[in-house]
């Protein structure tokens, strides 16, 4: 809908405003008259009318009115300028303009194209909401000042934008996979959309290894998704999940993609993450997982992508290979580093390690630290229970 509206306004801010206005109108009208047969089309039409009205108010945009003379015309799905077969994917590529810093490209795209809320984006980037809001404002200011156009990049320019596009899709999935806030752990509409986008991208750029890597990564997550919570919506850890219920077909598809990507050259960060996920998915049990291999892959991942989050995940693999004591030392280094302050998985990982070392009082405290940082109800319940379990009798 935003895609359809931005084609009218040629202005993302204006389009966003029009879309929001359309939702408000929908709430009023549908409550009175019932939901129309095609709610999506209804919303798009209203958003287009709305943007039309907003633009008429702005005389400076009068020159663009010819574009709007047929606001009721059906969606123009053809011709297909950039060979990108989907409105939303096209918008993501448009929004990931290399004149913006990559992080700004990703954040802005998540906000404007994918509709992810600013606090959720801030969590994904481990920064405060106000910092993220300021970054988004700065990026929008540059778009206006430097006149960055909303134009579909040529086929030759797609690879340059690819890394940001992959990150957008990954974070979109991640936001849906473990919703940073709210009642449910999983938001199906976001994970489904992200998976569709990854599949489309794979068709569009079949030779790009990292596209295969991302798709494989999402497929493994998807294969395990149903088992991440129990029937009461409570979070289950990897070792507690029912492996028999994992979708073997998706895992096999992911495995093929990973193997092909690994064979064709040095792996990027998505391929490595997918390889790790695939090893987990193929293991008969948590204990029988190929932890040494996973540790090697994390080492490689950390080398090409030195993120503290990767280092934290690597610490879990360390605990399975070298024991919880060694892993705890690494987690404590990360704790002192400070970049993961506010990242709930740091105290929860630390708590697990302390619990395994029998230091239950400290473990309970660390679980409570994690609890204080989580805004998701399913996670909170899980952590509260862990805190209780770890408490000494």
């Amino acid at each position: 809908m935003l895609a359809a509206t931005v084609r009218v306004t040629r202005d993302l801010d204006a389009a966003e405003e029009a879309v929001q206005e359309a939702y408000i109108r929908a709430l009023e009208t549908w409550a009175r008259d019932g939901v129309p047969d095609r709610p999506g089309a209804w919303l798009t039409t209203v958003a287009r009318h709305q943007s039309l009205n907003m633009m008429r108010r702005q005389e400076t945009l009068a020159t663009k009115l010819p574009l709007l003379l047929e606001p009721d015309a059906p969606e123009r799905l053809e011709p297909d300028p950039g060979m990108i077969p989907d409105d939303r994917l096209r918008l993501i590529f448009i929004c990931c303009h290399p004149a913006l810093a990559e992080e700004a490209q990703v954040a802005l795209t998540l906000r404007l194209v994918c509709g992810v809320a600013t606090p959720d984006i801030a969590q994904a980037f481990l920064v405060s909401e106000s910092t993220m809001a300021a970054r988004l404002t700065r990026a929008k200011k540059k778009i206006t000042a430097a006149r960055i156009p909303y134009a579909v990049p040529s086929v030759g320019d797609l690879p340059q934008r690819l890394d940001a596009v992959l990150t957008v899709i990954h974070l979109l999935y991640a936001t849906g996979h473990t919703a940073p806030s709210g009642i449910d752990l999983v938001r199906d509409e976001l994970t489904g959309r992200a998976l569709d986008l990854a599949r489309m991208l794979r068709q569009l750029l079949p030779v790009e290894r990292e596209v295969a890597g991302l798709l494989a990564l999402l497929l493994v997550h998807e294969a395990r998704r149903a088992t991440r919570t129990d029937t009461n919506g409570r979070l289950l850890r990897l070792e507690e999940q029912d492996r028999a219920a994992w979708d073997r077909e998706l895992i096999a598809e992911a495995d093929q993609l990973v193997v092909a990507a690994l064979k064709s050259g040095p792996p990027g960060r998505f391929t490595l993450q997918a390889a790790i996920a695939a090893l987990h998915a193929q293991a008969p049990s948590y204990a029988e997982t190929d932890w040494p291999q996973i540790l090697t892959l994390y080492g490689e991942l950390l080398r090409i992508w030195p993120s503290p989050v990767v280092a934290l995940n690597r610490a879990v693999a360390v605990s399975m290979v070298d024991g919880p004591e060694a892993a705890l030392a690494e987690v404590e280094v990360l704790e002192r580093d400070g970049r993961l302050a506010g990242y709930r998985y740091l105290p929860s990982t630390k708590a697990d390690l302390l619990h395994r070392l029998g230091r239950d009082a400290e473990a309970a405290e660390a679980y409570r630290d994690a609890l204080a940082l989580s805004d998701n109800a399913a996670e909170q319940e899980f952590l509260a229970e862990r805190a209780k379990l770890a408490r000494p009798p």
């Binding site: 004149a99 000042a145 430097a146 006149r147 960055i148 156009p149 134009a151």
Partner: protein, 116 residues
């Protein structure tokens, strides 16, 4: 059309600017034409002498040399009219045939003062 400054930073060599190759010189001379062919326009152009000829004033202090001494120094600039940033970048790439870096920045003001 929007106006952009295109700042050309070049690798400084001891013989600069006299050691610029004839082809490089020719490319510079033809640049306005190339840009016009692609729908843009050069409104003004400036070429600097080598950084060693600069004099810097800071407060009351006058010193020899440029404000910032770098391997890649500002060598020239032009003011460009283009449709949008993508267009401006495409045009600025035509000027980037030197060993160096080109910065494109939108203008908020540009004025040529006529002699009275």
């Amino acid at each position: 059309m929007a106006q952009y400054a295109v700042l050309i930073f070049e690798q400084m060599t001891p013989g600069w600017p006299n050691d610029i190759s004839p082809e490089g010189m020719q490319a510079r001379i033809e640049l306005p034409e190339r840009i016009a062919e692609q729908g843009g326009r050069i409104v003004a152009g400036i070429a600097w002498d080598e950084p060693g000829t600069a004099t810097t004033i800071r407060g009351d202090l006058v010193t020899d040399g440029p404000f910032i001494e770098t391997k890649e120094a500002l060598a020239g600039a032009f003011v460009l009219e283009a449709r949008d940033l993508d267009h401006a970048l495409a045009l600025a790439k035509l000027a980037a045939n030197v060993h160096g870096t080109v910065e494109v920045r939108p203008l908020i003001g540009f004025e040529i003062v006529e002699a009275s």
